[in-house]
């Protein structure tokens, strides 16, 4: 089908995910996977709640191994995260992709979801997607700060006190992890439901027929 050149379906941006975002995304995916799986093994050494993560799902083999993974991958996660967040702020990537984000558009989009009408134009996020990305980035920040409080509750005792002390920081760290895991589950489920969102995460480019107007996709 010839595209309607007078009314291009989308702003003709071929690269919908900038290279920095793509590289950052995959490094982050790798780092966060290690952090979560080793973190589950660390949790199991002294569970906060009445359950444990199946050891087969965890990383590290035993507590010492899990701690080694956790405190090695934290560097990857934090360095990559800092680069990504600084890039997001200063390149305007966050402003363009995640804002404006208003309660009205959120309510509207939520209504659409309830009616089973999902919009997913590649390269443009709907209000719920915007909110999800903003929240998961904030959860990442909370994870790092609560992690620092658990790792160094004496050196960073001011920070730890803000999070309810050492034991409070453990809870915050756990729930922030749970939030990120929840995000990842939905994120992957949507990639499976709409597989054409995946190639652009490698190539940066939207497939030819992907950028359909809202409602048609």
């Amino acid at each position: 089908m010839e595209p309607d050149v007078d009314h291009p379906p989308e702003p003709p941006r071929s690269v919908i995910h900038p290279l920095t975002v793509r590289i950052g995304h995959w490094i982050n995916a790798f780092a966060i996977l290690i952090m979560i799986l080793s973190g589950w093994r660390i949790y199991d050494a002294s569970p906060l709640f009445n359950f444990e993560f199946p050891h087969g799902l965890t990383l590290g083999g035993w507590l010492a191994g899990a701690l080694q993974w956790h405190f090695a991958a934290m560097w990857l996660l934090v360095i990559n995260g800092v680069v990504y967040v600084l890039y997001g702020i200063f390149s305007g990537h966050y402003r363009r992709s995640f804002f404006p984000l208003t309660p009205r558009t959120l309510a509207q989009e939520f209504g659409n979801v309830l009616r089973g009408r999902l919009s997913h134009r590649l390269g443009t996020y709907n209000a719920i997607q915007k909110l999800a990305y903003v929240v998961v980035i904030l959860l990442g920040v909370v994870l790092v700060l609560s992690g620092l409080s658990i790792w160094k509750p004496v050196q960073f005792q001011g920070l730890a006190a803000l999070l309810g002390g050492y034991e409070g920081a453990r809870l915050v760290h756990f729930f922030a992890m749970a939030g990120v895991v929840g995000f990842i589950v939905v994120h992957l489920a949507l990639v499976i439901l709409v597989p054409r969102t995946l190639p652009p995460m490698f190539t940066g480019r939207a497939p030819r027929d992907a950028a359909l107007p809202e409602g048609e996709s």
Binding site: V5, L59, W69, Y166
Partner: protein, 253 residues
């Protein structure tokens, strides 16, 4: 009308077959990375030599970072008596019925390494040293924590008293339960690091480390040796029971 340069038209000129190929390649690439991720789970990948080496190197790097982060003047938070955890948990690499029974009368604390006055100490001599108390949080490497009250002589005072070389790198401990560990000199000299003789105002019971432990509120619990038999000062890395198995050596809080 002149066609504006559109990326979509450019893409439209790519034969569909080629796009399919590109997409298949991407799909394969993705499945490969999924496979690699699946391999990461379980303990197998941790036992690969190169992985082991990298993890140990990172742990050594984290030792250095923690050394820089350690502020020798920063005090661990202290708590009121009401915050003390009762009962305070027993913790060791063996069960509580295997706790060593130490004969107080025969006990001698041995000193070694870079220490000027190496004469052994009896318990009455140690008890005669000036003592202080602290109520601090013990944080276990497993994650749990408990608050307790410990009394003893500030370790710095003891090290100065016996003429230890305070410019040396490490202080090592050998214990009557065959445990051993070592700490950095900066932590040994921290004002809250304490050679402890009492728990909750009572002579340290066997399960908490009779006749003495080193209480370090700026380090994880396993860095607090109990039933100490010998203290030595050295510049040669002495390692430790858990540390040699892979737990981080500095383990500062």
């Amino acid at each position: 009308m002149k066609k504006p340069p559109s990326r979509y038209t450019a893409l439209a000129t790519v034969p569909p077959k080629q796009i399919q190929l590109i997409e298949r390649r991407l799909f394969l690439k993705h499945s490969l990375s999924l496979g690699a991720l699946a391999l990461l789970t379980g303990c197998d990948v941790t036992n690969v030599d190169a992985v082991q080496k990298t993890l140990w190197t990172m742990s050594k790097w984290n030792d250095r970072v923690q050394g820089w982060l350690f502020n020798p003047d920063k005090l661990a938070p202290v708590y009121p008596e009401s915050a003390i955890t009762r009962p305070f948990p027993f913790n060791a690499y063996y069960d509580e019925d295997e706790v060593p029974r130490v004969d107080a009368a025969k006990y001698r604390l041995a000193l070694g390494g870079l220490i000027r006055d190496k004469k052994p100490w009896t318990l009455p001599q140690l008890y005669a040293l000036p003592q202080v108390s602290q109520i601090t949080r013990h944080v276990c490497v497993e994650g749990w924590s408990a608050i307790g009250k410990w009394s003893g002589v500030p370790f710095r005072h003891f090290l100065e008293r016996v003429g230890a070389d305070l410019s040396a790198k490490y202080v090592g401990f050998r214990c009557l339960d065959d445990y051993y560990t070592s700490i950095d000199m900066a932590t040994a000299l921290h004002p809250q690091t304490q050679l402890t003789f009492r728990y909750a105002d009572e002579i340290l019971p066997a399960r908490y480390g009779f006749p003495m432990k080193l209480r370090i509120p700026t380090k994880l619990g396993f860095k607090n040796p109990k039933h100490i038999a010998e203290i030595f000062v050295t510049n040669v890395y002495p390692g430790g029971y858990w540390e040699d198995m892979g737990y981080n050596w500095f383990s500062g809080l």
